[in-house]
């Protein structure tokens, strides 16, 4: 599944980072790389963008862009 499908409060591990150009490089620079754990924190009041936690910080990204990130859901719900 892709990152945009993750529900609030759920955690996952990144499998692959797609997309192209500046967007993809930005993802990589911000630490969204394979094997990284992420957790969905919330959605903006209008439903988009998303707010996730990774590597101990909060990052916001748009749904359309989050579709480029392949993830695998994990059961653990602890602190990331």
């Amino acid at each position: 599944m892709t990152l945009d499908k993750l529900k609030t409060g759920e955690s996952a591990v990144i499998k692959a980072v797609g997309g192209e150009g500046a967007l993809r490089l930005r993802f990589l620079d911000m630490g969204l790389i394979p094997k990284t754990k992420v957790k969905m924190l919330k959605r903006a009041p209008m439903g988009d963008p998303l707010d996730i936690v990774l590597r101990g910080y909060e990052l916001t990204l748009r749904i359309e862009d989050a579709k480029n990130i392949e993830i695998e859901k994990t059961e653990e719900n602890d602190h990331i």
Binding site: A22, L25, D29, I33, P45, E58
Partner: protein
């Protein structure tokens, strides 16, 4: 000695810069770009300056900020780099550090917010981290001023001894990435040395497909093919593409460093608190009401309470001073023209502009608090969906909203936008948000011509401005600003208390900036208008304002406004004087029509029909903003040609819209 201060956004860089320098700061731009450059003298050190580089996450050549940073370090060759790192968010912060290390410049690491880490039960073994990274690591708290003198001492020592970073290799031995990097270093060594760029940095950047470095090294076809061959082999072997492979290598190394030197705390109090606050400030049903509540309060306090009171006091002071100068000059028996120049030109012109100052300072007081607490990032998060369609991000919302109060601080506020493209586009759109100085014009005309529908016409004008802004944005998005916008992938920092010093310094900075402009561009503009108002074509002082040069110009250009329905020279003349300040439109019109402002409404019915009054209102809504705003646009765009272009474009759009209103209205 010169130091460069580099770090991510939201890591306390500005606070550290202020702590290092005190108030000895000069603000300018990096050469050729509109990225702000702050330089300051380091406290307690002789001949030591520090340059505040933009807050960035990586050294890729994708944003102007990143290019400015790497160009500064490579070309200007600072004696040392101070890399500030947020200890509570260590992994992502060290990502930039690894790229800076490749530049082979003496460097120290300032580990900021160590107090927060400790308070939450975490620890960082500074010695261990310093060994692992091969550079001195100094724990500091920029906000509390702790560890600053240690940091300065260590930075000066490292730079004086020219101690380069010890660790240069971040790839694990015998990995595909390792082999690739070392092969590339070997391949390009001569070229890199000739170009004066560290080979290791070149190698990483070439593998990442960095065109700038490729051009600078002047590699030949054969070498380019060899380079590509090395990279493809690495991609095959590591099963990752080139960019992911390097990012993976860096984060891998960072995770190892963190594993041996950091005991992470459980979720920090600061983050828990942020999540709680966000439940309201970004909550599904509360976010928008709270946002508009906050903005209403900011506007109310600025325009009705604090700013306006201060403005009144200031104008009172200026009036007193004018009075005093007036009496003094009269008693001295000075030439009446010089008298008029000083009193009606200098004092009146600069005085009217200066009375903006309290409004600007008050507004920036609130804006900087909203920015420093981390709330602005939330506004961008909440509003992003609305602005995305016109090719902007949520970050542009607040500057445009401020535009309804006054364009000057609104345009100044675009400085906080990260992307140059977004910043320029926001600057162009802000004047379409009808500023509060135009209200008197609307009020007079609405009362005279649209008695029944006053509120409707007013609201209609505001909406017309917004709609035109949106149309212009869509046109710009598909023409001048084509191409991909900077991706909206933004950090939401924890909420923090703003530091009084940072807010104070920012206010001082903005006030100084505005006063400088008031006494240069705005000063000249008001003198020119005074000159045109005072003299006739034979350079005699006019008795009747209808003989003045300004009126002559008004007469000359009035035919242009025939298609808009108001070819009266008195109207065009007042539009010209509106360039100094929009309030002047009404007062000039009253003077030229030989009536008082209160009775202007009745006098106007001689020159306007209901329809031409409407086209006039549309024209005033859209035509060039006042000189203070234009001067600000020039400052922020840093280009005279572009600024003139903006003004011409605005006047043309205004003319076309006014014309459309009058012509279409005449058909109905």
């Amino acid at each position: 000695m010169r130091f460069a201060l580099a770090g991510n956004q939201n890591c306390g860089k500005t606070t550290l810069f202020n702590a290092l320098t005190g108030s000895n700061q000069h603000v300018g731009n990096f050469p050729g770009v509109t990225v702000e450059q702050k330089v300051g003298d380091i406290k307690g050190q002789k001949n030591c300056t520090v340059v505040d580089l933009p807050g960035i996450y990586s050294l890729r050549p994708y944003t102007q900020e990143e290019i400015v940073t790497r160009d500064y370090i490579i070309n200007e060759k600072p004696d040392g780099i101070i890399n500030i790192v947020d200890a509570t968010n260590i992994e992502r912060n060290l990502y930039l550090t690894l790229q800076l290390l490749e530049l082979r410049v003496p460097m120290v690491l300032a580990l900021n917010m160590m107090d927060e880490v400790r308070a939450n039960g975490g620890t960082i073994d500074v010695k261990m981290m310093s060994d692992a990274l091969g550079i001195p690591v100094i724990p500091v708290s920029a906000a509390k001023g702790e560890g600053i003198s240690d940091l300065i001492d260590k930075a000066v020592e490292t730079a004086r001894n020219k101690t380069k970073p010890v660790v240069t290799d971040f790839c694990s031995d015998d990995s595909a990435v390792h082999r690739c990097i070392h092969a590339v270093v070997h391949l390009i060594m001569d070229h890199a040395n000739r170009a004066g760029i560290p080979p290791r940095f070149c190698a990483s950047k070439l593998i990442e497909g960095d065109k700038n470095i490729e051009d600078q090294l002047e590699l030949n076809q054969n070498e380019l093919e060899l380079l590509e061959h090395c990279i493809v082999e690495m991609e095959d072997e590591s099963k990752l593409d080139r960019n992911a492979a390097l990012a993976d290598m860096r984060y891998d190394f960072i995770e190892k460093v963190v594993a041996i030197s950091v005991v992470k705390c459980h979720e920090s109090r600061e983050h828990k608190r942020s999540v709680k606050i966000d439940r309201i400030l970004t909550g599904k049903y509360t976010a928008l009401p709270v946002f508009f509540g906050i903005m209403f309060l900011v506007f109310f306090l600025t325009f009705n309470v604090i700013g306006s009171t201060l403005s009144d006091w200031l104008s009172l002071g200026i009036d007193k001073l004018t009075d005093l100068a007036d009496k003094g000059l009269t008693a001295y028996g000075i030439n009446p023209v010089v008298h008029s120049l000083i009193i009606d030109g200098v004092f009146a012109g600069v005085g009217s502009v200066l009375s903006f100052l309290p409004i600007i300072v008050t507004l920036f007081f609130f804006l900087s608090i909203l920015e420093d607490t981390g709330y602005m990032a939330r506004v961008a998060f909440v509003m992003d969906k609305l602005l995305r369609k016109i090719g902007l991000s949520g970050r542009s919302f607040v500057p445009m909203l401020i535009g309804f109060g006054c364009s000057v601080p609104a345009i100044m506020a675009t400085r906080t936008l990260v992307s140059d493209r977004d910043r320029k586009m926001t600057i162009l759109l802000t004047p379409y948000m009808s500023c509060s100085a135009k209200i008197p014009i609307y009020a007079v005309f609405c009362a005279a011509f649209f008695k029944k529908y006053q509120a409707l016409v007013m609201i209609g004008l505001y909406i017309t401005g917004i709609v035109l802004g949106i149309i212009i944005a869509l046109i710009l998005k598909n023409t001048a600003f084509r191409g991909k916008p900077v991706p909206f992938v933004m950090e939401l920092p924890n909420y923090r208390l703003p530091s009084a010093k940072s807010v104070g310094l920012l206010l001082w900075d903005k006030a100084k900036d505005f006063i400088q402009r008031a006494f240069t561009v705005i000063f000249f503009a008001t003198i020119i208008i005074w000159f045109l108002e005072t003299f006739d074509a034979k350079l005699n002082v006019v008795k009747d304002s209808s003989d003045s040069l300004l009126a002559l110009i008004g007469q000359a250009i009035s035919p242009i406004f025939k298609p808009l329905g108001f070819a009266d020279w008195r109207v065009t003349t007042s539009l010209i004087s509106g360039f100094t300040a929009k309030e002047a439109v009404v007062s000039t019109m009253a003077v030229l029509m030989n009536t008082s402002t209160a009775n202007l409404g009745t006098a106007l019915s001689g020159s306007f029909s209901t329809l031409s009054a409407l086209s006039f209102l549309v024209f005033t809504l859209l035509y060039t903003p006042c000189v203070a705003a234009v001067a600000t646009i020039k400052r922020e765009l840093d280009s005279r040609i572009q600024t003139v272009g903006v003004v011409i474009m605005q006047c043309m759009v205004a003319w076309l819209c006014g014309c459309a209103v009058y012509q279409i209205g005449a058909l109905l």
